[in-house]
Amino acid sequence: MNDEQYQFDDLSGKVKETGKATEEQKDQKKRNYSAHLKFLTICASMGCGTFLLTSTVEGPVVHASTSPSMTEEEGPQAQEISEEMPTDLSSESSSSEVTNDSSIPDEAVSQENEESTISMISQSEEPIPSSNQSQEEEKTEEDLPIDDIYWTSTEQEVASSVPPENTSTKVWYYSGNSTPLQTVGEDVQVSTPIWSSIEFDYENVVGKVTYDSLTEMVEGVEKRPPIYRTPEEAVASSTEGILSSDSTEMLSSVLENPILIQNGTQRVVTDWEEMRHMPIEDASFPLTVSHEDGSSLTGYLNGKNVVDVLTNRMISQVSDKVGEDYGK
């Protein structure tokens, strides 16, 4: 559905002149924030190269990479990075100083170079033109009322010795697979774990699902709970509460696996039993509506609202039952 190519420019050159960016270019920089972040995220985990990401709701992710040649002669070697803010910067845009005194053995660099050439399975080798994003794609959250924001879920796989960092909209988990063993020396073989991610993107228009229709999906709920755009928003609006055993059973039949956010880190809870021991104020519950055209929408309920809704429903059921009994 969405194909994006990120290319690493490995050309050198002499600077002829330096000028200021126009306001339009600065605006483009802001609008392309997500693309910049994706490129850097992949670079940080796999090394920089040319990446083709094909994003579909159901299909596998296409992710091809090539690394630049490793010929730099005297580049500084980074192992630990500490940063200091220099004193001569403007407040609007600031550059930072990265300092490091440590070094990394050449063997480590060589090993890293070999591993960074891993290419992920590709569904299509067809290059996608790099781009100027169309005006339609550049619509931002602020441009659209909440009920007109449509969401896509994007899956992605990356081979890396450590999992990439989670973000506010993307969660990484071990896919259960690793790259084939590669011989890197006599009697030495390495295999790299493959990490999968799920990301929710509400800036792309892909269907006709709205927040109203999503809210309708909460079965048996008389009072609609608010739907939040991100797990963070849901958790931030929650207060303390307790989930009963009955509640977890009921929830598991209606909602997707809850997302816990603790110490700023997201974690998907796959075992609902675990929720009985978790503080409900840390939990958000995803709700996704899928339509025949392949579009889908995901929003999040907060834990406290879920408890309130369930409690109200149970009270209502008891009241009805009592009413029926007394009515006899």
Partner: protein, 76 residues
């Protein structure tokens, strides 16, 4: 140390880049840049460049590249 963020670099061969972010390491300036197309629009062609004496060259040391990418990602 000059702050070059949001500046446009024009190379002798005509290529143009917008500097999205900048970091200093061992007194060398490193730039996270996006190439501009012929109309001056940002593209999805990126690079992390070493900026020295009026010449820019892509960082190719894998470990440094990853470290810089991580650094820029966390400081966007």
């Amino acid at each position: 140390m000059e702050n070059k963020i949001d500046k446009i670099l024009t190379l002798e061969d005509g290529r143009k880049y917008m500097i999205l972010n900048q970091a200093y390491y061992h007194e060398t300036s490193y730039l996270f840049v996006s190439r501009l197309d012929e109309n001056g629009n940002l593209t999805n062609v990126f690079s992390i460049m070493k900026d020295a004496d009026g010449e820019i060259s892509p960082v190719t040391d894998s470990l440094l590249l990853k470290a810089m990418a991580e650094y820029f990602k966390n400081n966007m």
